[in-house]
Amino acid sequence: MQDFRISRRGVLAGSALLLASTALPRIAAAQEPKQGGRLIVAADSEPRNLNPAIVASNGVFFVASKVVEPLAEASFDGQDGLEPRLATAWEGSADGLSVTFKLREGVTWHDGKPFTSADVAFSALQVWKPLQNLGRIVFKDLEAVDMPDAHTAVFKFAKPTPFQLIRNALPALTSVVPKHIYEAGDIAENPANNAPVGTGPFKFAEHKPGEYYRLEKNTAYWGEKLPHLDEIVYRVLPDRAAAAGALEAEEIHLAAFSAVPLADLERISKVEGIEVVSKGYEALTYQLVVEINHRRKELADLKVRQAIAHAIDKDFVVKTIFLGYATPATGIVPVNDKQFYTSDVPQYAFDVAKANTLLDEAGYPRADNGSRFALKLLPAPYFNETKQFGDYLRQALAAIGINAELVNNDSAAHQKAVYTDHAFDLAVGPPVFRGDPAISTTILVQSGVPDGVPFSNQGGYKNDELDGIIAKAAETLDADARTALYVDFQKKVAEDLPLINVAEWGFITVARTSVKNVSNNPRWAVSNWADTWIET
């Protein structure tokens, strides 16, 4: 049980989802912020490595983003959906071979040393590019970082790299760590990975394993009169039923990442002094996906895949499993993405009769017991919802004569069975959309991914046309042309169904009403909380 908790949030990193409009209102801080106080939040797991420059995942960011800052953060109303952090300005060259960052001046590390372009160069070349789970993809062609002065960093790429991609990657992939602490010795073994040192509004104070993390106010923070809070404490609550009770008993102030089960939200929203907030996860969209093993003869047949798509009642899934806190998916890019999304793709409406016809046509008639063939179905154990969807899918498949046997694995066993051993027919997975198809999405259909890579195409699917589009988009510099390629990509995926997208969801925050400035940016839970304050 522990395992799915470990990875619930940790599954993958979020990133800037670019919200073009500024229509979304900020949660207004009508009152004057109160200084001081301790904010206690629920944490359901304890990441083993707290260095967000190495592990760019939400589980790490949840704690570490208050300590270690990225070059820019996602924003509801900033230009390109970004807001400056350690960088104040950024610009890509026309040839796609360099990106220039202007860095913030007068910033110091928590140990008092000044922050300079050398730290950014070190982080990019020594950490993000070789060590970071996502940086290894985005910065693979980064060759050098020039430092014309202490507050300018120029990234030089060996091959043209789309600036659009770099920009989209800023919030999640560019946490800057101090060179003077990491330059000696093995970076992966550095003690600062467990007690991070950064430039953020809070300093790392202590971690008591199994009990809590404590962060303290950074009095030398560059932000004016920030942060408001004196302390943030992350209280480890491994049992999922615990967060709701702890909120009601006023032992914690806030539970993010749907730590309070969706089914309990209606009740808890009526408790006085508690509010349910569904905003603040716009850039952290998770997708509910049926992964398909194309090595299996029946599933290699497009008609069978179409039949399965028609057998799934997406509205039921959204209404009953997600209790409305999700959106039915139309394709591989989520509906709430304003940059790449297109609705102009083939749709598979819920239609059991049609599904049955398709299966008959495909040559899989029902046997006397009503069953056409049997399958192994592996729902990912990371979320309640993926498991429940597994239960539902088994029933939905039974209705069209496919006899699915559920296999309930823990995280490690699931990872091994699906992504290394390919010992599945269908799997239910929750990949994350990270604001740009190149960082997260294309790997779900691209061929040639080595065995063992999590959240990638391990179903043996190979489509040269799609592979071609993916390769072309990787070197297309013009943002519009690149977007057009991904629109085409979405259509082809929906036509050929290498996987089936069912729904998309963000998380829910439940907080005491005394906590102010909650969810005021699209990746709030993993942002720095400098302006969060608490009424006493």
Partner: protein
């Protein structure tokens, strides 16, 4: 017959017998009353009990019939607990008999292994085993048996040691029977009654361990179990408490029934002994 009457004469035996009878009826009648897959979606989700008479106990998070779950869950509990009890008693009786009869190095080795199993907390062992092999009903049964066979083994060994010098064993030896044959034909049947007395405890523990494993997310998702239902209802413990309370009550009553019946049986046999 006398024995049964004496059993029912004890209040424990009476109460336990009734509870178990109810449990058996429920388990055996499940396919007649609820021929559909109990995991299929039968109505709107989270319907409260006593609202709709076609779904008298309401529905769960996905709209599955709670009453059908209780009936079919009883079948699973029955299967799991009987299988786990027979497996652990069979293994324990064999190991214990072998050790007691063979003596010497064999005894030493077998007893060390028994010690080893007893030293590791049983639930921890079951937990590790199920996590490793993957939760299915058979694995859960094996895991429970793995942590429960040592009790029967020790009792069987002690019994064997106490009876192996008795006349009929000695005469079998004189008659030239193979030691193993003696062990299984003559000694085992005699050592069985005290081992069987442990059965009620193992059956009850099996039901509880299965529930605790389900609570930790290690249940078989293809079968309805009461533990699984409780675990599933836990997320909505506050807003739909009936989802964990109904299977909880079924579970407590059944386990209580097993304990009481075991108690009644012990008292009945004690009464017989004191009469004899």
């Amino acid at each position: 017959m006398n024995h049964v009457r004496r059993f029912l004469a004890t209040p424990e035996g009476m109460a336990g017998g009734l509870l178990l009878l109810g449990f058996l009826l429920v388990a055996l009648s499940a396919p007649f009353f609820f021929p559909r897959d109990p995991l299929s979606i039968a109505g709107p989700a989270l319907l409260r009990p006593f609202q709709d008479w076609s779904l008298p106990l309401g529905t769960d998070r996905l709209g599955r019939d709670v009453l059908a779950g209780i009936f079919h869950g009883a079948r699973t509990s029955l299967a799991v607990s009987l299988a786990a009890a027979s497996a652990s008693i069979a293994v324990g009786a064999i190991v214990g008999t072998l050790a007691g009869f063979a003596g010497g190095a064999v005894d030493e080795v077998l007893m060390r292994v028994t010690d080893a199993f007893q030293t590791v907390p049983g639930f921890l062992l079951a937990l590790a085993f199920v996590s490793v092999v993957g939760p299915s009903l058979g694995v859960v049964v094996a895991a429970i048996a793995l942590s429960a066979w040592t009790g029967p083994a020790r009792i069987a060994r002690a019994e064997v040691l106490s009876i192996r010098e008795r006349d009929y064993v000695a005469s079998a030896r004189v008659a030239g029977m193979h030691p193993l044959e003696i062990a299984f034909r003559e000694i085992l049947p005699n050592a069985l009654p005290p081992v069987l007395a442990l059965a009620s405890v193992i059956v009850a523990q099996a039901i509880l361990v299965e529930a605790a494993l389900s609570f930790l997310g290690l249940g078989d998702p293809n079968r309805v179990t009461w533990g699984g239902m409780i675990a599933e209802g836990r997320a909505v413990l506050r807003s739909a408490p009936f989802l964990s309370i109904i299977p909880g009550i079924a579970l407590v009553l059944t386990v209580l029934g097993v304990y009481l019946a075991g108690e009644g049986a012990v008292e009945a046999s004690a009464a017989r002994r004191s009469l004899a």
